[in-house]
Subunit: 469 residues, 3 copies
């Protein structure tokens, strides 16, 4: 391989010759980048006379001629035209064919494009690579875009040649294994936030349910019982009841699976037993759950801070002042109310500030600078502190409302009580788990200890995830 | 080259010998890092007896002696002293000379420092590298600073030697081509936000024009017509009119070039025609336009939320309440006003929250984790939704003001109307573009189709950028 | 070395055989990742029949058999069991032993695990690596976790073999030198925010002192002198006095060490003299000081914006309005008050917005895209502008309070005056430093010039840090 590299090095100090079949957007961008990195680039075109917009310094010739010139050949043509390559078979023997293609939708074809190419030209070494890198990323110098080139293929030398080229272009290369992985790589650019699906669905569900609940309890009740139309409250007052509820419940849902997992391990007496599938999936999307909860908390903060500039609040206050004057009363100061109001606001603000800190440390570039111990400290210790502050914020907001009959219109309790159920559940069971006797057992189980008499370990790679509990 | 690497590997397992000419800050930092990575380092100094502060473990000798010891020689001396190297020419023959120098300003000399060095010592292989890496970044372990080493040179082996050293230091190396690129690399550290210039100028221009407009319309008008001095309103009230105007117009300006480009492509019937230069430049700085718009939106949010704690607002409200009491009136509740006020605030807050989301996803580390489809979904779909919400916020703020004569002092319409012109323009033409018949044509053109009869493709690499439309 | 690589490459295109001793969490994760990257993996277990949960495709055999199969052997077993390896000594001769172990606390053993292993198996080439990479990071594809593998060892070939494997797994490798560095690498995962300790202590100290001060001056004074209990003000009013004080002082403390360093250099007449240790430590944690200051500023903003929705404020305003009506007064408008109130708020908001900008540019992924000149422009120029705005905010807040006796209860000046001391000090001395005559001298000293007659340079690597002043 090294000798190849030396052979490819021409006298004028170039990196070697690379062939690109196809003159579309990706082919052009790739060629330009290769030229910048010192490679000689030759394009293979079915129509060499009519190939517009190719970068300066590149040559164009027929596909057959071009393929003869270089050891590494990028196949930047549409899968439908792969069949034409089978007639080049003799020329392509022993060459490295780099399949960079993507499909328009998942599972469009029975086998991956790369495997199809490998079937058509069996004597070439097909490598799947560069399909996760966009033409735009190649042009913009790789600064703002993902610089990982995912590679798979059956021949180590061929893969190494692609790794070398990736490195010359300032990209990192990750070997993902044999060509069977190609269909997986081809699916990657077609994904649309796969890890966000479940959390988005959960938040949409909670949003819908809670909104309906407060709508019935506030607006419909007022219309039916008090014969008043307060539907204008939907825009801000109701939204500002629903957002904090969703935020608090979703924050608690981040920590619930860890608690369930710990109790399962306690019950099983071993960590070598597989978790149920739903728990695995839940645990994988905790970060996304938390970030969505932060988004709702942010909306709650905005919606709360605009309260004093709302017309409705202005109106209510004006009339309160006027009626106080008319009735010749002064507004009595209540020390309890002052404490309660300030405590409730302070808990909320401190909780929100900590929540923002959690959000910042989950930015990839920040979490990369943390070691495992620091990451756990923030996401677990500070995370539970955030949950505790936000739950206290909820309790102080409600205060003694739950004692009054007015909190149960149509037997429906105040909305804030609903939001506190899951967080309380999580906090109580967390308290149980950190009691010394139970904590000791959990720690031993996580270090590999098993309760005697518990047989039947299930050999399953999925249980690796338990480390992350 | 591999054989060199093995020769350089001494018996005690060191990486090999590297020479550094020059004992300044950069030379010292580089030497320390090389020593840490297991290299032997020898400094060449004109004054070996008096070389302070060199890292432990490095040796110092005369420039000639030092140059003989190693194949790779870092030239960390000032360009003015390059001439002294010409007398070392025999020793330097065939060596790899790494030019790490930077200039104090752009275009200081006719040719780049590296090319000048190459002229002085023609038999050495000059490589330009490491000039974009700061001494600080080398010392701080490369954690917080740019870890890319940009490399150019005419000899592939020489460049590979520098690439290998970069990798040993934990840095990534990017080959940027031949030594002609050196002057470009030497300009890089002297740049000061080149992509931010145009957006900053646009925002400064808009800020100035809008400020003058509201100053004349509000303060000057009040002084001349009403004989009242309301100049204290400049600090917050006027600023809080100008900031949202600039934010909204600049957000619209992010999306305008894409729309112009689409209509140009529709008109040309092909994507293979070059865009005007101004459009290319505009499209390249859309991200910066958007982030500046976000900054102004953030200021608008802050300026709005402090309204209730302003002295002026407190004064106005107090007097309103007092006059209501004196005239024995109650403040009448208007359902329309309640709806309008809440809707206007809600649109603004939702728009701002989405805008913050756009800002977060444009952080390099976040956008790196997105694939092309996800990035487009956020920046295009959610971007237009943000623009729509913010425009609606503007319309609801104005409500029916435009019907009243008071909105046209001195024939000047209310400032909010001005801010809505560009966003409306963008939204209307976007609506046209997503109509099925037109969308289909655009998609076909972007996939390479050309309208028959449209000849005259212009071969121009610049049109690559159209991918990003 | 290259020949080894080729030998390891088997016919079916695999990357080669790697052995892992130990079947714990890390061993399993590493094996899975190696398999994905195309390596053959063989596990060595003391109990090959009973090794649960190993990844598909890996083989398990006795430790002796497994060690014979591969050149590179990962030692993923507990240090306590290293002694068992000494009986494998003959098999391990010439092999690359990769020590991936971590300890539970710092300085647990006299020598590092890797050096201990090297003593036990002296004929093997021990390399310390991968201990800073978590099992979780290996599984999650390295996207969200630190992708740097820190490596040290005494044999260059052995280290290169580990570097090659790291690259195949998509990780970057950093050679940190000889095996003596191992204990340093083993301490890394045990660190808990080492650079944040000093800033956190400073902020805790300031928080405590300032809180006590305002507690005595406000609450205790009111209780003793006015016989009033205003302790409810602790939650928000007092906190919102302490937070901005801490934020402002800590922001000033970011810039103070740079100023002290400049004056020291001026006094010494050279940059080649070592700074005192405390100054070095202080300068290294300026970024952390600044970010903590930003956190307190953020809390101050939140605490300020909730003012109008506090019960106490509502109560005070209601009674003010009522008393104004009763005494038949109108609230007189003061132009000065309007200017002052708005100017004070505007300074604060602009300062905070700039502060947020400083915070964003200190995110690793953002600062990586800046060159040295841009980074200095933001952190120094914009940093001082932020300090100036925030100090002006403090002065405008106080206005002429300092002239009134009421500002000195019990001879204690108003808290805001305390907070302005350090910022004023910094700003005054910065003004001195940027005066042309002094600035010229400083610049010359930083470029290496020394004042004649100043002898006694101290050869000390620590003075490198002065670059960063």
């Amino acid at each position: 391989m090294k000798s190849d590299a030396i052979n490819m090095t021409t006298l004028n100090g170039k990196q070697g010759m690379v062939c690109i079949l196809g003159t579309g957007d990706f082919g052009r961008s790739l060629g330009l980048r290769l030229l910048q990195a010192g490679y000689e680039v030759v394009y293979g075109s079915r129509n060499p006379q009519n190939s517009p917009l190719l970068p300066n310094g590149a040559r164009v010739m027929s596909q057959e001629e071009a393929s003869q010139r270089a050891r590494v050949i990028f196949v930047a043509i549409h899968r439908d035209n792969y069949e034409l390559l089978s007639c080049l078979s003799p020329v392509l023997e022993g060459k490295v064919l780099v399949d960079v293609s993507n499909n328009l939708k998942k599972h469009q074809y029975a086998e991956s494009n790369a495997e199809y190419l490998s079937m058509l030209v069996p004597k070439a070494h097909v490598v799947k690579a560069f399909n996760t890198v966009s033409a735009w990323a190649l042009q913009s110098g790789g600064l703002d875009a993902n610089r990982q080139v995912l590679i798979c293929g059956n021949n180590a030398d061929a893969k190494q040649a692609v790794v070398d080229i990736s490195h010359s272009l300032g990209l990192t290369a990750v070997d993902r294994g044999s060509l069977r992985v190609a269909s997986e790589l081809e699916d990657l650019p077609l994904q649309l936030f796969p890890l966000w699906r479940l959390p988005l669905r959960i938040s949409a569900g909670l949003l819908g349910v809670f909104f309906l609940y407060v709508l019935i309890r506030d607006v419909v009740y007022a219309r039916v019982v008090d014969k008043k139309d307060i539907s204008f409250r939907i825009m801000i007052s109701l939204a500002n009841k629903v957002f904090p509820m969703v935020a608090l419940v979703m924050l608690a849902l981040c920590y619930l699976p860890g608690i369930i997992a710990a109790f399962l391990q306690l019950y099983n007496g071993t960590k070598y037993r597989r978790f149920p599938d739903w728990l695995d999936r839940w645990m994988l999307c905790r970060k996304q759950l938390g970030l969505l909860a932060l988004a709702f908390a942010f909306l709650h903060v905005l919606y709360t801070l605009v309260i004093p500039i709302r017309y409705y609040v202005f109106y209510k206050r004006a009339n309160l002042y006027i009626s106080l004057v008319k009735e010749n009363k002064t507004y009595e100061f209540s020390d309890t109310m002052a404490w309660r109001s300030d405590a409730y606001l302070a808990m909320g603000m401190l909780g929100f500030a900590l929540f923002v800190l959690l959000g910042i440390t989950s930015l990839p570039s920040v979490s990369n600078t943390l070691n495992w111990r620091e990451f756990r400290f923030i996401q677990s210790k500070l995370g539970y502190l955030t949950l505790l502050l936000c739950t206290a914020h909820g309790f102080l907001y409600g205060w003694d409302k739950f004692l009054h009959a007015s909190a149960y219109k149509w037997w429906m309790p105040s909305s804030y009580m609903l939001a506190l159920v899951v967080p309380c559940f999580v906090l109580i069971f967390k308290t149980v788990l950190i009691m010394p006797c139970i904590d000791r057992t959990i720690t031993r189980i996580r270090q590999g200890w098993e309760r005697p008499g518990k047989a039947g370990r299930i050999k399953d790679a999925r249980s690796r995830r338990r480390n992350g509990v």
